[in-house]
Symmetry: C2
Subunit: 361 residues, 2 copies
């Protein structure tokens, strides 16, 4: 087991990474001082890991209410959140009860936002069961639900007390979701860790084969990179923006296609290709770096070509993206593999021309 401490002053917390951690209730109990909890999961994950975890918690003296939600990004809405609130109130859980998220990013975002707002804030534990959640959404305190007019538009910054990332959970993951998680892993290499990018080029097949040692290293290194960025910039005022490489394009693609059509990691993969290509065209990075970026994403089984969406529609959706400050289009671009930067204002007409070219079949 590897341990990483996320340093956020009074809100610091440990991330435990390795195999067999779902059985390690002893890692959770110190963070449950009031012995009351709600275990929030979905219909897919709960039967796999939730039943046993619930038993183990109960055996350790933690009175735990299961809250089992439907599975899928399309349920990341206020209506689902309200089902959580309803269950918590029905069981009279008070403000010292802990919410435990067991599932992927959707469950983490929902349970985290519920924890941030139930009775104005209750303690929160993350047990991510997808690669994407383990390397991305379980670190950094971002929680949210989607709105009909945009993704992750309603949310809060809220930190967990502890995170358990069990590589065994990834054995049950559909291949497509494993690949989507790898998109975010590769992102850390692209934005700030050239050495890790090279390691990924060498060990990608081990990761695709779900080798536990390779996965533990990739998760740890991803978490270290994200934790370092988040510790320096918890509220996303500066450096943290780099984590959004590929995301402004990606979110627009997800919204245009309808949530759930493409996986988040798939949209981000294409978004990263678009960012790399634009970086290249604007003279910021080399063709060789663009080719390496496309090659590793393709080997990871990820889409590398943008779907057919009208350029005007893409631009409109990109302008709605919340990372835009006061009307300008801000994008994360690449100087080279291992070094991303914030381009504060790409000109509309240039971007329209670019989108018209790459988003047409």
């Amino acid at each position: 087991m590897q341990t990483l401490n996320v340093d956020l002053g009074a809100r610091s917390y440990p991330i435990y990474i390795g195999s067999g951690l779902l059985q390690r209730v002893d890692l959770l109990v110190p963070h449950l001082p009031y012995k009351r909890a709600a275990l929030i999961s979905n219909e897919t994950v709960f039967p796999l890991f939730g039943t046993r975890l619930l038993e183990n918690l109960t055996r350790s003296g933690v009175e735990t209410v299961p809250v089992i939600l439907p599975d899928g990004e399309s349920y990341k809405t206020w209506e689902t959140l309200d089902r959580i609130f309803d269950a918590l109130l029905l069981h009279a859980l008070d403000r010292k009860s802990t919410l435990i998220a067991l599932g992927g990013g959707v469950i983490g975002d929902l349970a985290g936002f519920a924890a941030a707002t139930y009775q104005r804030g209750v303690p929160f534990i993350q047990i991510p069961t997808t690669l994407l959640a383990q390397v991305d959404s379980s670190i950094g305190g971002k929680t949210a639900v989607n709105h009909a007019r945009g993704k992750n538009m309603i949310g809060a910054f809220y930190q967990p007390k502890v995170v358990l990332a069990d590589t065994d959970a990834l054995k049950a993951l559909p291949q497509r979701e494993l690949c989507a998680g790898l998109a975010e892993v590769i992102k850390y290499g692209l934005i700030r860790d050239a050495e890790f990018f090279s390691w990924l080029e060498v060990h990608l097949d081990n990761l695709l084969a779900r080798d536990a040692v390779a996965l533990t290293h990739a998760i740890l290194r991803s978490c270290e990179n994200k934790a370092a960025v988040v510790a320096a910039d918890e509220r996303e005022q500066g450096e943290r923006a780099l984590l959004n490489l590929g995301h402004t394009f990606g979110h627009a693609i997800e919204t245009a296609l309808g949530y759930g059509e493409w996986l988040h990691g798939e949209a981000v993969a294409v978004g990263m290709v678009m960012a790399a290509q634009l970086s290249c065209e604007r003279g910021h990075c080399t063709e060789a770096d663009l080719r390496r970026t496309i090659a590793i994403l393709e080997r990871a089984g990820l889409p590398i070509r943008a779907p057919a969406i009208a350029a005007e529609r893409m631009l409109e959706l990109m302008q709605l993206d919340k990372k835009n400050d006061s009307g300008k289009i801000r994008l994360i671009l690449l100087h080279r593999i291992g070094e991303a930067f914030v381009e504060p204002g790409v000109e509309r007409t240039q971007l329209l021309e670019f989108l018209g070219r790459v988003n047409t079949p």
Copy 2:
């Protein structure tokens, strides 16, 4: 004009109190660096003060979107919150736009929670137009919406950048609402300021006649008391609980009767009488202090007798109140006028007997 600085470190902010402040856009503009805002108000308040404020903001170069909601506690729900989000997204307001709340406690709570969660947090300004909001809900950063199963169950702690409390706004207030606001003013005297309580006994008629000088003093003194408590205990771990004098009883009454039947301050007034009576019966305070408490609330035009609610129902609702820790019933009681304390666990059977006695007509 009086100025009070609420000291919360990086989240400190000024409260301006006096007459004519609704015209003082110059007090707001320094807190609107990005010159984009949404003015959130209701159908009653907006025609009185909003139209002119909107004009003044626009004239000062602040592009402002009005969001006008229906009036009343029954609209303090997720559905209304979603109308705010919808308007903000429709006008593509980004995360540097400021939300300005113009109205009573309901508008402040809704707009504050919207500000806390829109794009994970945008700046927020409070312009409370009721006495209750000026002395209570505009200080302390509590924001929330109601849930079908309980009042203020979903919310966040979120501080404004600046608060304007204009005594002129109170001229338009129905007498019943002015009285309800006085319940919270009297509460500050009861819990921690005996001198202020005596001042209120002397000047109550001036306040009921809406004398601007008396109102300014009462608002300032209330805000000072609340600000001192909040500064010492922002997240309600200790001393801040004293602010809930009368509220556990009061919230149960509000829920039992249905939101909107009684005003919040009316329910709190009865709750304070109940708390004082229980304090007296348990030997914590004198009969004389109980009589002074009842007398001033009655003079302020507030109800002093509990409505007929079955004791079991009251107790059930009180147990749901979020100030209860891990199943115990915690109440705020009085040692004397000017000194409240936390009674951590009143016995159920004693409380049932008490409620059976006082809640029956």
